[in-house]
Structures are given as structure tokens and as C-alpha cells.
């Protein structure tokens, strides 16, 4: 099974290592038409690269789902007070 799979993968012009290097541009739709064709051809016969692609995409989607940190109101007030003091100081010194 593994041997047959190896032969098939060689026939697609792309190795799994090359697929890993191309996945970023593939997902951003930045591959040339011929490279994209090779990429998709490899996916059709290589379950390992399909699984790799799925987990890569999942990693990106869960990273993007991290909730933004909210600025605490106290920190925002501290920043505004700092700026007021600085502006006042620079106005009196000039």
C-alpha cells in the first residue's frame, strides 16, 4: 500500500515536503495555475497531505478566533491622564 502510494505521489510532480512549502500560497490563492494544478493533483492521491492541509487550516481558524483583548478602563484613563500631563508640560515649557 505504502509502495503504491509512493509511486503515485512521485507521478504528481510534487513531494509532500514541497506541498508543505506551498500550502500558505495555496490557501491565499497565490499559486500559479500550473502549480495549483500539481498541488490539487497531489491532494487527490495523498491522504497525508489532505490531513496536513486540514490541520493547517484548523490551526489558522482557531488562531483567528482568539478574542481580542479589551483595554481595561483604568488603563485607558491612565493613558489619557499621562497624555494630558505631557501636553500641559510641553505647553508650559515652550
Amino acid at each position: 500500500m505504502a509502495k503504491r502510494n509512493s509511486r503515485q505521489i512521485r507521478l504528481t510532480n510534487k513531494t509532500c515536503r514541497q506541498m508543505t512549502d506551498l500550502v500558505f500560497d495555496y490557501l491565499n490563492d497565490k499559486l500559479s495555475p500550473s502549480t495549483k494544478r500539481d498541488f490539487q493533483q497531489h491532494l487527490r492521491i495523498c491522504p497525508d497531505c489532505v490531513n496536513f492541509l486540514n490541520t493547517y487550516k484548523k490551526t489558522v481558524s482557531v488562531t483567528r478566533s482568539i478574542r481580542p483583548e479589551e483595554i481595561p478602563p483604568k488603563v485607558r484613563n491612565n493613558i489619557l491622564n499621562f497624555l494630558r500631563r505631557r501636553v500641559r508640560k510641553s505647553a508650559t515649557s515652550s
Partner: protein
């Protein structure tokens, strides 16, 4: 770690036909996370504010704090991890923006300039403190045999089991800890791209990198995060 034979976690279970069917839907591009993020002010809003800032209008400074403090806080806090350090960085960024508004020529977007000031200040603070939790990436990156095949086969698709194994909050906490282990510049790239939704070009301008370097860093960081998630679920990072 060179190997002439593949290491297997179990027997090779997915047939070629299954692989073909599993690829359905994989063509969709990854969209930027803008829909889930706070919207950035338009450049038109920015232009009017910058003109007022250049003339020393203090109300314009407050308006800029209102518009950008949440976004810049998010970026700086993700990079620094501590509230006190983040506050210091953000107040310096706004003060610098106020003082140097006259030097802003508008060749880049105002928001990009603010991001640049923020990331540079945060990275400078990390360099000075010499506090770092960075780990070597190698252990968590994919590995291959000499002929280019995956070293550990089968590669397990854990994309659907992640949500079953962890509550959303647990995954987010785990990812935040993994993010903290990235090199500071790589972490900045991930934060600006995947959390703030900036384009590769905007990130390159903000960090003083080439677009190609941004892509390389982002890809490598994602491979590391993927490896960390895989290991946390009991699979090989390779």
C-alpha cells in the same frame, strides 16, 4: 533526523479515493479575519484627524486614543503579556504620534504607522528586559523522509477532534501560551495577521520586513502552532 523508512502511528487507513473525496471544499481560500475584528477607521477619518493633530489640537489626540487604543492595546498586550508594560508602551506611542504628527507624510496609512510604533516599542521593551519564553521550533515542525514523504505516517487529521477534546476557551488559552513561545517578531506577525487582519503588505510596512519575509515567518509560526496543537492531542507534530 534522517530516516529511510516512514514511522507509523497506526496502519495507513485512508484510501486514495477517500483522499480525493476529503479534498472537497479545500479549495476555499482563507479569508482575513476582518469580520470578527473591530473595524479600522477609514483613511478619510484619519486624514482629518492628522491635520488637526499637526496643529496641536488636543481633542484630536483624544479622538485618536478613542479610535486606536483598543487595537494597539490588543497588539502590544499579545506581544508583551503584561498590563503594566503594555500601558507604558501605548502611552508612549500616542505621545510620539502627537509630537511627530508633523513628520507623518502619508506615504503609509496612519494606522500602519501606529502599528509600527507599537510593535517597535514592544519589541524594544522585550529586548531590554531580556525576558523570553521562546522555544526551539524544530521539535514541532513537520518532518520528512529523504524522498520528500512525511516522516510520520499517517498524518492524523485532528481538525474535527480538536473541538471535541477541548472547550473553546481551553483551546484559546492553549494557543495563547503557544503564541508566547514564538520568537517575538514571529509573534508580532501572527498577531497583526491572524488577530488584527492586516495584509502581508501592511505587516511588512509596520515591521520593516519584506513581504516575502512576512509570509515565511507567518507560515513557520503556523507550522509551529499546528505542531503544538497536534502534540497536545496526543499526535505527532511531524
Amino acid at each position: 533526523m534522517a530516516s529511510s523508512s516512514s514511522m507509523t502511528e497506526s496502519s495507513y487507513p485512508v484510501t486514495t479515493r477517500q483522499a480525493a473525496s476529503t479534498t472537497q471544499g479545500l479549495e476555499s481560500s482563507l479569508s482575513r479575519p476582518t469580520e470578527s475584528r473591530r473595524k479600522r477607521p477609514s483613511s478619510k477619518d484619519d486624514s482629518a484627524l492628522i491635520e488637526r493633530l499637526k496643529s496641536g489640537d488636543q481633542e484630536a489626540l483624544k479622538a485618536i486614543v478613542d479610535l486606536y487604543s483598543s487595537k494597539l492595546y490588543n497588539v502590544a498586550h499579545r506581544i508583551l503579556g503584561e498590563v503594566a508594560d503594555t500601558e507604558e508602551v501605548i502611552q508612549d506611542v500616542f505621545w510620539t504620534a502627537y509630537r511627530k504628527a508633523k513628520t507623518f507624510r502619508g506615504t503609509a496609512q496612519f494606522s500602519t504607522w501606529l502599528y509600527r510604533l507599537t510593535v517597535n516599542a514592544a519589541l524594544g521593551k522585550i529586548r531590554r528586559s531580556k525576558k523570553t519564553k521562546e522555544v526551539e521550533y524544530e521539535e514541532f515542525l513537520p518532518k520528512f523522509q529523504e524522498d520528500g514523504h512525511h516522516l510520520v505516517r499517517p498524518v492524523v487529521d485532528w481538525s474535527n477532534t480538536l473541538d471535541e477534546n477541548y472547550a473553546k476557551q481551553e483551546t484559546q488559552q492553549f494557543l495563547k501560551e503557544a503564541l508566547d513561545q514564538l520568537k517575538s517578531v514571529d509573534k508580532s506577525v501572527v498577531v497583526l495577521s491572524d488577530l488584527e487582519g492586516l495584509s502581508d503588505k501592511e505587516i511588512a510596512a509596520a515591521l520593516g520586513l519584506t513581504v516575502s519575509a512576512v509570509k515565511t515567518r507567518l507560515h513557520r509560526a503556523r507550522l509551529f502552532l499546528r505542531g503544538k496543537l497536534a502534540v497536545s492531542l496526543g499526535h505527532s507534530a511531524a
